[in-house]
Amino acid sequence: MSDAALAIAGLSKSFGGVMAISDVSLSVPSGSLTAVIGPNGAGKTTLFNLVTNLYPADRGEILFQGRSIRGRSPGAIARLGLVRTFQSARIFPGMTAQENALAGAHMHLQAPAWKHMLWLKSARREERVLAAKADALLELVGLKPFRDMAATDLPMGAQKLLEVVRALMAEPRLLLLDEPAAGLNDAETAELAELLRAVRDSGVTVIVVEHNMSLVMGVADQVIVLDAGSIVAAGSPRQIQQDKRVIAAYVGAEA
């Protein structure tokens, strides 16, 4: 299990009698890119919310790099290197795009506030280094021209990409992306796919909840299919595309 970035065993959560997640077990190898797919209401986002402890799980175990994280506060989980994005781009209003990206680096900025109050060179240098990194990432995803605009003035697709950039600035070991391609056009989706591959190749484990099949099939090493709170199938994209249960549960009539 030690090379699993995330291992979940027997995870369950019910909301008022409705099983949102029921007895889910899965393992995500380090350095892989795993996609979680499934119809609306399958429990994909709930799975993320349980892993990051936005909701407490009813039962089960969650191991992050071999360490149990169930019951830890969302902040503590983030500090371990497990960072997520949200389904509805939750960028911070009242800040520019660059400031949003820099907010992601919160955990890695060491200089305490009093050093900034004294305008110490060392503290400023640290900020400048991270600002350069933020600029490079914004450039990479094509957001450079928006750098100094209010983040809320960005188009929806750009906001979603900005949220991914913000999460990357947190230097996660495991990155959970909740429908990053929702609201993106085809060209933007292609850029996102490129970015996800690059992130994975840099050694970050990625789990992505996604509806966009071409994105999932194009980039994922492993696909997990959820339906009604349970895992229906798991395997390589090719295996999943041929799995009858998946076609029945998810692709359904379209196939």
Binding site: W114, H116, E127
Partner: protein, 632 residues
């Protein structure tokens, strides 16, 4: 025994008013999710209109009473249509709280202009002679109050629980969107709840006026106690608000009768803090509490206010040059003195800006820290000969410790409750400064405070003090600017707008909120100390709760979250009454009006508005179209 009964009867009568105001709170809250702090002022409006009609114009009592109630309600409806109803869907609930605090100030300003600042008492409805029942003297007005209160409560109960209109009102309370989809006119229901609350407040104000002395600012007292009553009883509970009011009235009178009125105030506020901590939904509270987060998400950011690069430097240097040159123009007298006061208050408002403008935490108790700082430094200097510098530092330490202790309550609370815990704190400090006569000199104040000095340097003249304050302000603004443009400032803003997303990035929300609160307490305290040393005198009303509201007006009018913006708000409200003397009478009204208007139509404040316009004008439209082409 008779004394006890006498006190309990007094408490019941007092409690009747609290109960009716609590009912008004509960009514408006249940329909809109807003705590309407202007509630208590309508009691006083009703009573003073009654005074004019009955005593000054000689109208018969019943006619005057009906006319005064209706006139007050009409006025309330006008205010509701102008400000309250349009603001409810636009502003987050904690901003609405501040807006209603602005309405309270506005009403007090209107009363000050119309009736000036003297106490009024109405003649009793039916004769002065009290009824004696088994040795207990009950004023005849007591029966009127009891009867009117019972009628008011029963008719409200009938209206809300037993009529179609009441069902519609309650539907708005359950779910505004669903109510609108069901064809209920939500804005009209909002106005109706507001108007009903005004009506019952006016009626109870008129009923109680003969046994209470009323002034233009007594409304604040009614609001405070009505609120404490409803918080004890439970905002969502009809029975709870009434019971809370009666309980509070009796408890307060018993404490005042057997111990002291200082103790009674402290008891009421202590009770509030305990209830907020222990059962935030009140003792009778039922139902799901509304989601009342910190001022998050809903608030629309119109623009990011920032003067970039060289423009910022030029602006800062220009401002500094003007600040240094001002005493050469105004060599003394009122204007120089007002400039010093502007600087001193700005220090406190800077703290408030860190707390409200950046971290998004509403504080209605900033003046409480001014009081702690002012009185600590002043008492140490006057009674113990401690040097002003050490006294000031001691005050700041005490303020930070108090804020830290208070944070055990506030950090567990969100939205409304947080703001109200700070209000309770401010009021508690108010009653301490008035009540601890031996230490603070009580209402008449503490005189003979020396000038501020550091070692052998004494800042005795206004010019000396001016440069001292300018120096402190420059240092503070530079330090805070350094902190706010860094990770710390970004984390505060993240906490303000989206706590969940901030946490998911590893931001320690509690620690950042606490840091902002401690900074604001320390700066409030510093400001209070300087204030005392500058005037050589300190009295409770110089650093009382209305000052907290005033500072919020200054902050909002100037521009939140910009550090420099609030300077213009402070300057405006401090300098205007000096430059234009007749304005002094209108100052309270202007504060309230400015707060309400800015919240609704100029959310970025005067400075924010000007800065955004200016930077757009300075930076030609090159940036925007380029950005649009960027994404394919």
């Amino acid at each position: 025994m008779n004394l006890a009964i006498q006190i309990v009867i007094g408490g019941l009568l007092q409690g009747a008013v609290f109960a009716v105001i609590a009912l008004g709170f509960s009514l408006v809250f249940r329909v809109t999710g807003v705590l309407n702090l202007s509630q208590g002022a309508f009691c006083v409006v009703g009573a003073l209109v009654m005074y004019t009609l009955q005593v000054a114009w000689g109208w018969p009592t019943p006619v005057a009473a009906v006319a005064a109630s209706l006139a007050t309600t009409a006025f309330g409806i006008a205010l509701g249509m102008l400000f309250f109803v349009p603001a409810v869907p636009r502003l987050p609930t904690s901003s609405m709280l501040i807006l209603t605090a602005g309405l309270l100030t506005l009403l007090q300003g209107v009363l000050l202009i119309g009736w000036s600042s003297q106490p009024y008492a109405l003649p009793p409805f039916s004769g002065e002679a009290p009824v004696v029942l088994g040795g207990v003297r009950v004023p005849t007005q007591g029966f009127w109050i009891a009867g009117i209160t019972i009628v008011v409560i029963l008719s409200m109960w009938f209206l809300v629980q037993r009529t179609t209109l009441g069902t519609a009102l309650r539907a708005c309370a359950e779910n505004r969107v669903a109510a609108r989809l069901m064809g209920i006119d939500v804005p009209r229901m909002t106005l109706l709840s507001f108007a009903l609350a005004v009506l019952i407040a006016a009626i109870s104000g008129i009923a109680v006026a003969p046994i209470t002395s009323l002034e233009f600012d007594t409304g604040g007292f009614f609001t405070n106690f009505g609120f404490i009553a409803v918080a004890i009883g439970g905002l969502n509970s009809f029975l709870g608000s009434v019971a809370g009011g009666v309980f509070l009235g009796v408890a307060e009178q018993l404490a005042a009768g057997y111990v002291s009125s200082l103790f009674a105030n402290a008891l009421a506020l202590g009770l509030l803090l305990v209830v907020l901590l222990w059962r935030p939904n009140g003792l009778f509270g039922g139902g799901a509490p509304r989601r009342t987060d910190v001022r998050d998400e809903q608030r629309i950011y119109h623009a990011i206010v920032r003067v970039e690069g060289r423009g910022g430097l030029v602006f800062a240097l220009g401002l500094a040059a003007i600040a240094l040159a001002l005493p050469l123009v105004f060599t003394g007298g009122g204007i120089l003195s007002s400039l010093v006061i502007t600087g001193i208050l700005y220090i406190s408002v800077l703290g408030l800006d860190v707390l409200m403008g950046y971290a998004g935490q509403v504080s209605l108790g900033q003046a409480g820290f001014m009081a702690i700082g002012g009185y600590t430094a002043a008492i140490l200097a006057v009674n113990y000969g401690v040097s002003p510098l050490w006294g000031t530092l001691a005050g700041m330490a005490l303020s930070v410790i108090s804020a830290w202790a208070l944070s055990f309550v506030t950090l567990r609370l969100r939205g409304h409750y947080l703001a109200l815990a700070t209000l309770a704190f401010g009021l508690l400090i108010d009653s301490l400064t008035v009540g601890m006569v031996d230490t603070t000199g009580g209402p008449s104040g503490l005189a003979g405070i020396p000038a501020f000095s550091v070692g052998s340097m004494t800042f005795a003249s206004p010019v000396d003090m001016y440069y001292l304050v300018v120096g402190i302000v420059v240092v503070l603004v530079l330090a805070l600017h350094g902190a706010m443009r860094s990770d710390f400032g970004r984390a505060l803003k993240a906490v303000r707008t989206d706590q969940t997303a901030a946490t998911a990035l590893g931001v320690n929300v509690v620690r950042h909120k606490l840091a902002a609160f401690l900074i604001s307490a320390a700066l409030g305290s510093l400001s209070g100390s300087l204030y005392a040393f500058y005037f050589h005198f300190l009295s409770p009303e110089m650093v009382a709760t209305p000052r907290s509201f005033e500072m919020i007006s200054m902050l909002v009018a100037g521009g939140e979250g910009t550090l420099v913006g609030s300077l213009f708000g402070v300057a405006l409200l401090t300098m205007l009454p000096t430059i234009f003397q007749p304005f002094a009478l209108y100052k309270t009204l202007a504060e309230g009006l400015l707060l309400v208007l800015c919240f609704m139509w100029l959310p970025e404040g005067m400075f924010g508005f000007a800065a955004v316009r200016l930077s757009r004008w300075l930076r030609p439209r090159a940036a925007a179209p380029a950005a649009e082409k960027a994404l394919p």
